[in-house]
């Protein structure tokens, strides 16, 4: 590694809070705690809150390391922490409804436990929650501060904007409105949420208060200095948190009319082809021995589980929020720790957002997988989205060293369905061209046609890039 590569680099997402910041040095992630945060940091440990939250899986553990790692002079650092590494960083607009809801409930649970220890959350950002070993937890150990008796909750606005408003819109209007989190970096503006929500939400007391009245209050008191004799006592604060929790708990969304979630119950190919496909995926995984897998177009995760159930960390991406919802619910039911389902449109993957486009990373900046699975996906990208096969090969070699891919030829009913409503301008869509395009980027190690189906499965290894 070059000397420049060894120098600590502050994270682009970590500049708002003067308590400390994240940085990377020598390929590892650290968090500096500034001296100004000392009292709160000490109380987090002395009160027992840190250990309690770590024990129940609500806070990402860290270890303290030497202060000489600080990118500043070591006197400017009170502590340097090395947090446990996350396998994959996801963002709220990539979560399905139940993931989002669980993240909100985890935040409120942390807030309640913190109050029992004389602390509270000083922010309520959805970006501080990540899915780790299957469950949502807080990743920012500097989010706590000593509870200032009598004060309203500093992070109330942020919690409502980051969690409650998007969840309400997803539950009451359309689950796709969760995508608005891509646009609004600091959460859904409450006046907008209030306008978009149906009238019946006025009749639900917690939603009336925390969304509609809240939005009106923001408008009425914008920029007004607050000088009053009033206080929000501890019991009233607890009731406020309970009321937010009740609001979140009663929100629900269930997939109803998705053309995808019932994909596996539809018959696209016979049981022998399905069994053959499973066997081949297993064989390919045996051969490649990946430590991580990204399953693109994973649907409800039937094939992702072939990887995750071997203990391989697997991210299962799908375009359809209903498929991801079904997948996540199965993860929760079975307590699966190695599988993370996420919503992602491959034709328009999550962009980098925030200040200088550096606060939240684009999909392609968030690492790579050892192996990528793309089963029953190529025809969607190639035909529904007009993507040339060369582009696909180039994309896949960027994100994984191994590729387990299925090619569904033109005569398959699934491809015929995609062609039903349009001109067939896809004369290049042949297995020969597919192999030619992918051979430029990959070495094709196995190629096998599925029993009783024209579909073909491939195992490929990325060609060594010139040094």
């Amino acid at each position: 590694m070059s000397e420049m590569g060894d120098a600590p680099v502050p994270s682009g997402a970590s500049f708002r809070d003067p308590s400390g910041f994240l940085f990377t040095a020598q390929g590892r992630l650290y968090r500096q705690v500034n001296p100004v945060y000392r009292q709160h940091y000490e109380h987090l440990f002395d009160s027992g809150l840190y250990h309690e939250l770590v024990e129940c899986g609500l806070l990402l553990p860290h270890r303290e390391v030497g202060r000489e790692r600080s990118p500043e002079s070591s006197a400017q650092a009170y502590r340097i922490l090395e947090p446990e590494l996350l396998d994959f960083v996801s963002y709220p607009f990539e979560w399905c409804f139940s993931q989002y809801k669980d993240a909100a409930l985890a935040t409120l649970e942390i807030q309640k436990r913190a109050l029992q220890h004389g602390l509270w959350l000083k922010d309520g950002s959805a970006y501080n929650i990540q899915f780790h070993r299957g469950r949502p937890l807080l990743i920012d150990s500097l989010s706590f501060e000593v509870y200032p008796e009598g004060s309203p909750w500093i992070a109330y606005r942020q919690f409502c904007q980051h969690f409650l408003a998007p969840l309400c819109l997803m539950a009451y209007r359309d689950v796709r409105l969760g995508q608005l989190m891509r646009v609004f970096l600091d959460g859904m503006p409450l006046d907008l949420a209030s306008r978009l929500l149906p009238f019946r939400t006025y009749l639900v007391l917690p939603l009336f208060i925390h969304i509609h009245l809240h939005a009106a209050s923001q408008k009425r008191y914008a920029g007004t200095p607050v000088h009053t004799n009033r206080k929000l006592g501890r019991t009233a604060l607890l009731e406020l948190i309970n009321s937010l929790e009740a609001a979140v708990r009663r929100l629900g969304w269930s997939p109803r009319d998705s053309s995808w979630a019932d994909y596996y119950t539809d018959i696209h190919y016979g049981p022998s082809a399905l069994e053959h496909k499973r066997r081949l995926v297993n064989e390919f995984l045996d051969y490649a021995q990946p430590r991580s897998v990204w399953d693109l177009g994973a649907n409800t995760g039937m094939f992702s589980r072939l990887a995750s159930q071997r203990g391989i960390y697997t991210v299962a991406f799908d375009l359809d929020p209903a498929a991801v919802e079904a997948n996540y619910r199965q993860c929760v039911r079975a307590g699966e720790a190695n599988l993370l389902p996420l919503v992602l449109d491959l034709t328009n993957p999550s962009p980098a957002i925030g200040w200088e486009n550096r606060e939240r990373q684009a999909f392609l900046e968030r690492g790579q997988a050892d192996a990528v699975m793309a089963l029953a996906l190529i025809h969607h990208l190639s035909i529904s989205n007009n993507l040339p096969l060369d582009y696909l090969a180039s994309f896949f070699q960027k994100i994984g060293a191994w590729l387990i891919v299925e090619f569904i030829p033109r005569e398959d009913p699934q491809v015929q369905r995609l062609l039903a409503s349009r001109n067939d301008i896809f004369s290049n869509y042949t297995v020969e061209n597919f192999e030619a395009s992918f051979s430029r980027q990959f070495e094709i190690l196995r190629s096998e046609q599925l029993h009783g189906s024209p579909r073909r499965m491939f195992l490929m290894r990325r060609r060594q890039r010139p040094a």
């Binding site: 500093i154 992070a155 942020q158 007004t224 009053t228 009731e239």
Partner: protein, 63 residues
């Protein structure tokens, strides 16, 4: 002492703008949430008392 958020911001480590409207709403609702807490805490007692009241009334004619 009047509640002064400037004082709060210097004694705690708030870096977020809590938003005047969001702050004031919580203060305005303090008594509602305080009352809710009390009602919930004593709910069982209240429920018991009301039940007792009704059952006494019902029992009376039988006496």
């Amino acid at each position: 002492m009047p509640f002064d958020p400037i004082h709060l911001l210097t004694t705690t480590f708030a870096y977020l703008d809590p938003g005047s409207g969001s702050f004031i709403l919580q203060l305005l609702l303090a008594s509602l949430f305080g009352a809710l807490f009390v009602v919930k805490a004593y709910w069982k007692k209240i429920k018991g008392a009301i039940r007792g009241l009704f059952s006494k009334r019902r029992q009376k004619p039988e006496e």
